[in-house]
């Protein structure tokens, strides 16, 4: 009798556990649905730490607008002088292949950026261009590796890999592991693995705040290069949500003429 009770309890836990772990893709799709907003503007202070401890400060404004489930993002450097007004515009496409343009003020020209250019580091930071795009659930396949405690929460550890060989060619990573909090679907950590499957970078999202309804945001994001020993810390200085930004603000005209 005692034995059957134990078996029953075990089955119950096992079933409950199985039911509590939704499909990884469902988690990521739900994350996007819960955390996405119509539009968002952030002013960021970027501090780039060299291996020898030297620091460089950069100020960036990042503006995003989402329509029909696809986002358009404009990142603009506000300072220092050598990169001021440099901008990157990204249009997310349903097939996972984005359109991306860059504006270099010295050339006064908007230039389209090739896909593999997205692996490049973004303006001397530890972030690659592709790290700055929203998570594309169409461009990746996901699986839940495990659940484990993270800070005071419990996280799903989800592995993301490119969905097709072509997309795998475009990305600089063989896979990523994301730690997604079960309570609010917020990603708090991402490990990036290079093509030889070695840990290349680690992103940590801190000072997580509820900013509106189901929307949570990190006010501090650190990207640490595990190989080079460098790191970049983004601190959010200012954030506005759902202010009705127009589509025209995410155009090549704005990239070139905006400030």
């Amino acid at each position: 009798m005692r034995k059957s009770a134990w078996l029953g309890a075990l089955l119950l836990v096992s079933t409950a556990g199985h039911a509590a772990t939704p499909d990884a893709k469902e988690i990521m799709v739900k994350q996007r649905a819960l955390l996405s907003v119509t539009d968002e503007t952030e002013t960021l202070s970027m501090t780039i730490y060299a291996k020898n401890g030297d620091q460089k400060k950069r100020s960036v404004r990042r503006t995003t607008r989402t329509a029909d489930g696809l986002s358009r993002t404009l990142v603009r450097f506000l300072s220092p002088r050598d990169v001021e007004r440099t901008g990157v515009l990204t249009w997310e496409n349903a097939n996972g292949v984005d359109d991306q343009w860059m504006y270099l003020p010295a050339m006064k020209k908007v230039k389209r950026v090739a896909s593999s250019g997205k692996k490049n580091r973004f303006m001397g930071t530890d972030f690659a261009y592709e790290d700055l795009r929203p998570e594309s659930t169409e461009a990746h396949t996901y699986k839940v590796v495990k659940s484990e405690p993270c800070e005071k929460e419990t996280c799903w550890v989800i592995e993301a890999v490119a969905a097709t060989p072509a997309l795998a060619e475009e990305t600089g990573y063989s896979r990523r592991q994301l730690w997604v909090q079960q309570s609010n679907y917020m990603t708090v950590r991402v490990d990036f693995y290079d093509k030889s499957n070695k840990l290349e970078k680690q992103q940590t999202n801190r000072r997580i705040k509820n900013v509106s309804g189901s929307v949570w945001r990190a006010n501090e994001i650190e990207m640490r290069d595990a190989v080079e020993g460098t790191r970049t810390v983004n601190e959010v200085l200012d954030r506005t949500l759902n202010t009705g930004l127009k589509e025209e603000l995410f155009s090549q005209v704005e990239l070139e003429e905006g400030s």
């Binding site: 002088r81 359109d99 389209r112 950026v113 580091r121």
Partner: protein, 457 residues
């Protein structure tokens, strides 16, 4: 006006002034606290060390330039901005404090208003008025659709675009971004000084030094060696409103392709040469140019191209070179190593440019080009390989090969580093190769090293 003609003393004074600027300018900028005045900018100190002296040009030239940018927003819609360059050099490229905007003047002035722009940004429409620069083409080496702004070719391998006084209107019609430009005053490009190291004419003592060439140079460079024959005609289009320039660009993005169309109505930025018997004319035929361009990406490639058809039928009796199509195609490939070490990425550019003359007018001469680098891209390959290294260091090699005759080439090696937020340093080696009567080969004596130091403030 010409220091060289006045002996060496003024040039020593200029060297001294450059040194004073170099030592005092950053401190001065800090003391005045330009940032508090809304002024930003950069101080750039260049040393050009050429292989040898050429005529009255020293082998080494020092140049210091201060770029001052100022911007003021009146409100959400209106803003004004300016870009002023103050420059001094130890040689003859900079002369006089401030002069007319007519770029036929053979030297730069110490003070140049590069841009002055009053901008209105409405929800769907943008209007700009003032001295402006338009960079429409997407190619790196040569853009046949960039026809509005003249350039300063006094140093033809380190040239600057010059702003033009103009009004522009930009807005969206359907899926198209449309920009129209009207410029009431034509300004030609400033050509290399024919008495200096960048002269394009053959050596006067050579058997190729024909009379018409000398005549042309006399007109371009006041004070040049007296001509046996005068230039019989120049028709610089400075007739005011009757000789305005117009430009129109329409562009859109369709299924991953950036597509653009262009129309230009105006005059060539570098005069054409017409030879009738032993007489020569510098002419600026009224022309209309229709262009098209594209840019797209495919996997790791970015591809782009432009074509421009020049219609000279408006003034067929004047046109020297006739109708033609200039085009360029190119590709950028970015390679990011899977296991990055010192090299973070390698960006490779390859472009091919060509000109097809559709008809040849009697005046289409065999004269050497007047010094515009655009002349080097009538049948040419340009290639660039750039290595992005760790710690914001870049190394690059660039080459432009002119294939219009026996091959001649410019090869450039570059190394640059952003030391910190304020300081930038770069070194460049330029090497010319080829026969001495070809575009690049004729400057073989100008092989040089350039060292640049820049301080942002």
């Amino acid at each position: 006006m010409r220091f060289a003609a006045e002996g060496n003393v003024p040039r020593h004074w200029k060297r001294l002034l450059v040194l004073l600027w170099v030592s005092a300018a950053p401190g001065l900028a800090h003391a005045v606290s330009l940032a508090d005045l809304g002024v930003k900018g950069a101080l750039t100190y260049d040393v050009f060390a050429h292989r040898e002296d050429v005529g009255i040009d020293d082998a080494v030239r020092h140049e210091l330039a201060a770029d001052l940018e100022w911007e003021h927003r009146f409100n959400r819609r209106w803003q004004i901005s300016s870009d002023l360059r103050a420059r001094i050099d130890s040689d003859r490229l900079v002369s006089g404090f401030y002069g007319s905007e007519d770029e036929r003047e053979p030297h730069r002035h110490s003070l140049l208003l590069r841009e002055l722009e009053l901008k209105y940004r409405g929800d769907d429409l943008q209007f700009k008025l003032g001295k402006q620069t338009y960079a429409w083409g997407t190619a790196d080496a040569f853009n046949p659709v960039d026809l509005l702004n003249p350039s300063d070719y006094l140093d033809p391998i380190a040239f600057d675009d010059l702003g033009i006084w103009s009004a522009s209107l930009r807005g969206k019609i359907g899926e198209f971004d449309i920009e129209g430009v009207w410029s009431p005053w034509f300004v030609q490009s400033r050509l290399p000084d024919q008495t200096g190291r960048w002269r394009t004419a053959p050596d006067l003592e050579s058997p190729f030094a024909s009379v018409p060439i000398v005549a042309i140079l006399v007109d371009l460079v006041p004070g040049f060696f007296p001509p046996p024959n005068p230039v019989v005609r120049t028709d610089y289009p400075d007739g005011g409103l009757d000789q305005s320039q117009f430009g129109l660009r329409a562009q859109t993005t369709l299924a991953g392709w950036d597509l653009s169309g262009y129309v230009y109505d105006g005059y060539p930025l570098v005069p054409e040469v017409r030879i009738d018997g032993t007489n020569a004319s510098l002419i600026y035929p009224h022309m209309r140019v229709y262009g098209a361009g594209f840019s797209t990406t495919w996997e790791w490639l970015e591809m782009h191209g432009q074509a421009a058809f020049t219609d000279t039928s408006i003034e067929p009796e004047v046109a020297a070179r006739g109708d033609r199509v200039d085009w360029i195609v190119g590709a950028n490939a970015t390679w990011v190593p899977d296991d990055p070490g010192v090299v973070e990425s390698v960006i490779t550019l390859l472009e091919y440019a060509h000109e097809n003359l559709l008809e040849s007018q009697p005046g289409d001469s065999t004269l050497p080009e007047l010094g515009s680098p655009a002349d080097a891209f009538r049948d040419a390959i340009a290639a660039r390989m750039q290595f992005l290294l760790v710690s914001e260091t870049r190394a690059a090699v660039f080459t432009a090969v002119d294939l219009s005759g026996p091959a001649s080439a410019l090869v450039r090696f570059e190394l640059s580093r952003q030391l910190n937020d304020r300081w930038y340093v770069a070194a460049e080696v330029d090497v010319f190769e080829g026969p001495s009567d070809e575009f690049w080969g004729r400057w073989e004596h100008n092989d040089r090293v350039r060292i640049t130091t820049r301080c942002f403030f």
